[in-house]
Symmetry: C2
Subunit: 414 residues, 2 copies
């Protein structure tokens, strides 16, 4: 048996008792994990320095090096994250619905853990603690497959977290770092019976590879190609503040704005002003032909340019022949993440929110709110753009399944 199979079987075995753990047992484990993380700060930072040195030697970009690097402040934030998840309500055991059958038997649908969750993620070592916290608090075991770039950091972090489990009297096999070459990743993707749910967290390439290969159930945390439509009667200053926020507050994330659509009837009045102000903020702008005609300084968006998630200070601008044209455009190009309308027209608001098929549809506010913390979930494992099981920000509840419990007194079917 490979190391991975042994780890997975041990996690499965540990998951049986853990699924039945009380909230206080789970919270004590998370608190002990936070303590152990802080106690091993020096060792973790030392291990991290080896990863950073190797990353620099292999020519990782500065932004990736930054994502990889840990210091005392970041470690403290990881420990605080663990404690915060401990403070959240326990989703397990919630009765989702219940009723009595004609024959007198009672049915209850109860929230239960998945069992063993696999997570495949890139670079950032803080994900290791986040993912562990969310999986464990929701009653699951976790098999974590981090990036090889962060291998020394992740080993040391996992070893501290497992030490915390031991201190709290829980089984350390609830948590394991999956190591090995890419064949191990393939093995994880096809570990039916050992892994109940697989979540890839990372770039489009990783997601695609998992979706292509996996035979275990997967939740995709997808890319965001997000639009904002300025309707004909929008409050222009409101639109402006939302655009600035959605585009510039943190351009590198999935809920940032990619494409601005403007109703063509108001475009002549507002487009030049928007282009001026956005350029002053350093936003790199492109437009469609109609936008270019109004503002010749705009470069044209290439034909295949409307589908890209920009992740930087870059904004595409197109004119729309009214609401329906904007809806059709978003249906064609949107990635189903977050789509926004700025309008004061109640009919248009109703039509847009009904017709747009996305995880989140926003009216008169910034798509930057599409986030587990902003939603008040207290934790987030990613934002799902698929429609099965979980859509939008995923937190503890989304890491659970359910089962029916049927209790009778001898009932049989006629």
């Amino acid at each position: 048996m490979t190391d991975f199979i042994c780890q997975a079987q041990a996690a499965r075995k540990a998951s049986y008792d853990w699924a039945l753990a009380n909230r206080s047992q789970k919270d004590q484990a998370l608190m002990a994990m936070a303590d152990q993380l802080l106690e091993s700060s020096a060792a973790i930072i030392e291990a991290n320095q080896r990863d950073v040195a190797a990353g620099q030697a292999s020519g990782l970009s500065e932004s990736l090096i930054d994502r990889l690097s840990l210091d005392q402040a970041r470690l403290s934030a990881m420990a605080t994250g663990l404690r915060q998840v401990a403070s959240l309500a326990d989703p397990v055991g919630q009765v989702l619905r219940g009723w009595r059958l004609d024959n007198g038997a009672n049915v209850e649908q109860v929230r239960v853990p998945f069992g063993v969750i696999g997570i495949i993620y890139e670079a950032r070592p803080n994900v290791t603690a986040d993912a562990a916290a969310i999986c464990l608090k929701s009653g699951n075991a976790a098999l974590l497959r981090g990036s090889s770039t962060a291998i020394h950091s992740n080993r040391r972090i996992i070893s501290s977290l497992r030490a915390g489990l031991v201190v709290a009297g829980a089984d350390p096999d609830l948590l394991a770092l999956v190591e090995g070459d890419h064949q191990v990743t393939s093995q994880m993707m096809r570990a039916r019976g050992l892994i109940d749910l697989l979540i890839p967290r990372g770039g489009a390439g990783l997601i695609k590879s998992v979706v292509e290969q996996a035979t275990v159930p997967v939740i995709e945390t997808g890319t965001g190609n997000c639009h904002l439509f300025i309707d004909a009667d929008a409050d222009v200053e409101m639109a402006w503040s939302i655009i600035v926020n959605a585009k510039t507050q943190r351009p590198s994330v999935c809920n940032a704005l990619e494409t601005l659509l403007i109703d063509q009837s108001v475009a002549p009045k507002i487009l030049p002003m928007l282009v001026d102000r956005l350029s002053q903020l350093g936003v790199d702008l492109q437009g469609d032909q109609a936008a270019h005609d109004l503002c010749p300084q705009l470069n044209l968006v290439p034909d295949d340019g409307w589908d890209e998630e920009s992740l930087r200070l870059h904004l595409r601008i197109g004119l729309a022949d009214g609401l329906e044209s904007a809806i059709a455009f978003i249906r064609q190009h949107g990635s189903g993440h977050s789509e926004t309308i700025v309008t004061n027209d109640l009919t248009h608001q109703r039509r847009f929110t009904a017709a747009i098929d996305a995880a989140c549809v926003l009216v008169n506010c910034s798509s930057r709110f599409v986030d587990g913390s902003e939603f008040g979930f207290g934790a987030e494992i990613g934002i799902s753009t698929q429609k099965l099981h979980a859509r939008g920000p995923m937190a503890l509840s989304e890491m659970t399944s359910s089962k029916y419990v049927i209790q009778g007194s001898g009932q049989t079917r006629r």
Copy 2:
């Protein structure tokens, strides 16, 4: 473009308006589909006779021929099924939860259709109408891939159902029969962006093939290897009536009983009686070594024999060294469908219902109740044994996803 791609694109286009249809529009469509089905009875039965003749010529078993055959009574039942789904509440638009953010924006999570659902199924042509009804009522378009054995029947049924859509003023492209060789099935499984959800309904081979190949999200309707544990202090007559019901009332279905486990402390008293009575009912019995020692007429279960879904009047019997041993046995061999305990011990009831990881856990009643109709859902598209999205009997609600609608008045993120 292939026929399938054209059908799928037409279904996607039609699904946009259908997702927004009112309940009355959907119900009128289902009623018109039922009317058209009955009006075309003669033509459907004639087409069915061609399938039956071809099936007989190719040597289909009598039971498969029976499943394939349609007569006026079965057609009427299909029409009644459509009308019954029309009478069910509309799941779309239900607000699952809603709250106000700190910044004053409101969040609502609303139930929405998936969009386009693909269903791959075997033999029985009545599934064609059932599946169409459930997909359409839940606001989805449906691409139905039936068995080639029922091709003439399915063509004629789909053409009547599409005629019903036209009568009701709905787009007939909401419903299509997917034809062609096995490459088309593969195409369906990988139609990302065109199909939002794929449901295989059929034998273990079909399910396995779909899980291996699919890149679109899949819900498995799995096999049932179901256990019943007679605890030490069970009411023996209650256990007897539940066993008879679960094993003999309809042995060919997934919620029927496969394996009986008996606490070894009471086995000497009750096993001989159970073996006698079950033999009289014509049940083919096998046992483990301990059961064989008590009742030498029992043949031994082969070592690899405990995992099979029997689908016939066949029962395996094993002795268990108490509750924990029964739980461990079910964890090893159960398929996660329906697991039953007969007990009068409250501690054991709590332990069994908590520890067993299955779609349905039953106490003192027959697993034959694990069924959409028995649950009061009014319709069923299958019983899911996976943990993602839907687990247990699936009806209209399970054929929906959700989206978040966030409404503000200019809020931006700090």
